[in-house]
Amino acid sequence: MRIKLKPPTIVILIYLAMLLAGGFYVGLPLFPILSESMVKFAMNGIMVLSLLPMIHAGVGLNFGMPVGLSAALVGMSLAIQFKLQGGVGFLSSLVFAIAIAVVFGAAYGKLLNRLKGREEIAGVFTGFAFIPLMNIFWTVAPFTNRQMLYPVGGVGLRPKISLDGYFRFILDETLVIQLGKISIPLGLLLFYALVVAVIALIFKTQNGKAMAALRLNSGFARLSGVDENRVRLLAVILSTAIAAVGMCVYSQSFGFVQLYDGASMLTFPALSALLIGGGGSRQATITNAVAGAYLYQFVYLLSVPVANAILIPELAELLRMIITNGVILFAMLMERRWQHA
C-alpha cells in the first residue's frame, strides 16, 4: 500500500528529524522521553479523537471544543464536591461529564445546524464565548468542598483544583509495564483503545453510515431518507461527549482540574495534531487522529529540552505555537482548494 503524506505531516517529520539530530548532539536521554510520550499521547489523544464524529458528518473541525471540555470540568467538579475518590470518583466524573456534555452538545449542535456552511467560524466564537460564560459559573456555583474553593474568602472555585486524594493518575498508574528502560502505561493506553473501538463501532452503525453519506453528498443522503439535522446533531453531541471524556483523562494525568481559561488552551493543539496526522476538515480517519496525536506530543516533548540546550529556552514554545496555528491555516488553504477543484 502506498502511503501519501500530506504537507503538514511532511513538515512535522522534517522538524522531528531535526529535533532528533539535535537531541543526539546534546546527548539527550531518549528512553524517558519515549515513556513520557506514551502518557502524553493518550492524555491528549482522546481530545483529538473527539474531532472525528463531526468531521465524519461533514460538520467540519470542532473549533467549539471548549463546550465539551467545560462539560467535563463541571462533571469532575461534581465528583469532587461529592468527595468521590479513586476509581469511583473517576467513573462518576465520566458519567457526570458525559451527561452534561450531551445537554451542552445538543444546544451547540442546534446552533451549528442553523449555521450550516459556517460551522467552523461559529465554533470558534462559541468556544470563545462559552469560556467567559463558564467563568461566571465557576465564581458563583454553590460548591462547598473547601478543597475546591478559593483559600481566601471561600467564595468561588479556585483556578486549579488538585486531584490528589481523588483520582490523580488513576489511569496512568494502572497496569504500568516496565520494558527495559521504557515504562508503558497500559491502563491508560487500554482506555484510549476503548474510546477508539467505540468510535469505530459507531461509524459502522446505521447512524455512522448516515453521517458519512451527509459528508459525501448531503443531497443524496436527504433523498435517501436521512434526517440531516438529526444526524448532524448526533455527530455534534458525540464529538462534545468524547471531548468531555478526553478532558477527564487529561485531568487525571495532569493531576489538577484546571478551571477558568484552562479549556481554551487545549482546542488548537488537538486540531493541529489531527491535521499533522494527515486529516482534514472534510476527511479524517481514526489512523490520522492516532498518528497525529502521537507525532504532535512526541515532537513537543522533544523540542523543549533540545531548544533549551541549543537555542534560547522560549524558542521551543514559540515554534510549537507557530506549528500549531500554521498547520490550521494551511488546512484552511487546502480546504479552499478542495472546494474550487
Binding site: 463501532l201 452503525t205 453519506a213 443524496f220 436527504r222 436521512v226
Partner: protein, 552 residues
Amino acid sequence: MYCLGLKTMLMYYQSKNERQMNNMGQPIIEMKQISKCFGEARALDQVDLSLWAGEIHGLVGSNGSGKSTLLNILNGHPVIAETGGFSGEIRVAGQTASPGSIVEAIQQGIGMVHQEFALMPEMSVKDNLRAGYEVSNPLIDRLVGASFSPILEVENRRLASEALASLGIELNMDEKVRNLPVHLKQFVEIGREVGRDGLRLLILDEPTASMSQENAKDMMEALKRLKQKGIVILFVSHRLEEVVSLCDRVTVLRDGRVVSQHLAPELDPEKLALDMIGEGVLKAQHFREENMTETVFLKMKQVASRTESIASAGISLEVNKGEVMGLTGLAGHGFTMPGNFLMGGVPWTGEIELDGQRLSSGSIQEALRQGAFMLPDERKELGLMLHASISENIAFAARHNLKRFISRLWPLPFGLSNQQQADAFALEMIRALGIKCRGPHQHVRELSGGNQQKVCIARAIAMSPKLLFVGEPTRGMDIQSKEMVLKLLIEMNRTIGTTLIIASSELEELIRLCDRIAVFRDGEVVKVFKALEDPKQMIRVMSGERGHRDAH
C-alpha cells in the same frame, strides 16, 4: 441516410435564408463550423449561425441540445477556455473575433442577459444601469485616470433613463433594485446592456421564464423597439408561442447540431417542437403489455410549490397501481416537479395521497415509509455518492430505511453495517445489470454515465419500492446503455409490480414504455394521453395549443 436528409434540408433552408437576408446587408455575427467537446462528450457539432442587423433570432432546443454552450462561446464565458476552448470561427461585423472573456465580448458589442439576475439588489436602478461604465469628468480623467475620477451624477442619470426609455419604460431611478418586481428587474438588466455604446448583439437567455403572460408581452414590445435600432437579438426561450410571435428567424438545435431554421411567416410551434424532439417520435411503437390496475396509487391534487416564483394553478395527477406513467413537456415546464414534491423535500401546497395515506409537505421520510423512492434527474448531484464505492451507494438507502445489510453483534444493543452482505448484493447487481467495473469497491465517480445510472437502478432494486420516480433516466447515455436502462425499469415493473413514474424529455422513449403520458406546460398537467394516441397531438399540446384540461 438521416444525415444526408438533414444536410439537404439545411442547405435548402440556408439558401432560402440567404436569399431573404441579402436584403438586410452583411451579417453582424457569423459563426462557422463551431464545435465544442467537454471531455468525450460533444456538446456542439459544426454549428453554423449567422445573425443579421435588425433581426430577432430565436434559438430553441431541449435540455442538453447545446444552447448554453453556444451562448457561452459567443459571450466569452471562462468555462469554455477552461475546458479546452472550441473549434470554428466567429466573425463580428466581418472581422474575425473570438471573445476570450466576458469583457472582450462586451468590447466587441456582445451583451448577454442571463436567466439568473446579475444585479446589485442594494443599489439604485440608476447605479445598476450604469455600473461599470459610468461617465466621469473628462478633465479629471486625464489627471488621475477614469477609475479615480468623480462620477457625473446628472449625465449618468440621463443616460440611464434614456436606456430604459429605449425599452419603452420609465422607472424611479433612485429605487433600490431589490424592491422591484421580477419583470422590472429583467428590464433593468436589459437596459444595462442596451445603454452600452456599440451594442451589436443582445443575447437573452429565457428572459420571460419567470414572467406572467402580460409582462412577457411588454418585454416583447420592448425587444421589437430594440430591433428597430438595428440591434440583433438572440432570443432563447422554451415558450414557443413567444418565439413564434417575436422572432424573424428561428434556429433549432438538437444534440449539438443545427437541425433546422425557420423563417418568420412560416413559424409554427408544432414544427419547432417536432424538430426539438426529433422525428423518431412519430415512428415510436409501444412495446409492452399493460400491467396497471384500477386502484389509484398516487393522487396529487392542485399541488404547487410554496417557494417557486412561477405562478401555477398546481399539478393534478392520478397514477394507478402497477402503471408506468410518463411525465413530459418542453424543458422548463415543470414535468420533473411531481417527483420533487413527493420525494425531493420541496415544500408544497395542495394534497398528495400515496397508497391511501395523506402526506405532509416536505417530508421525504413519510414518502419513503409509504414505499416510494426517487432516482433524481440530477444523477451526479443528488443520485449518487461519487466518492463512495458502488457497494456503499447501492446499499445505503436500503440499509437506512429497511434495515437491510445490518447485523447484530452480541452484546451490542445496536446493529452494525454488514459489509459482506452489502458487497454480495452489489456483486449480484453488477452481474445482473451488467455494470462495467472492477468490483463492488470501485468508486462510482470512475464509472461511465450509463454504468452510474445502472448503479442508481440497483439502489432502487435494493429498496424494492412500490412507487419509483425516475427523472431523465437516459440522459447523457449511448444508445446501448439507454436500451438497457429502459429494459431494467420495465423489468422492475413486471417482476415486483413497481409503479413507475418516468419524467423525461425523450418523448419517443415514453411512448414506447408508458401506459399513459401526462404533458406539462407552465408547471401544470395540460393533458394526459394514452400511449397509443397520436404523438403529433402530444407535441401540439406541448408546444402551446391549450386544449381542454384533462388532468385525470
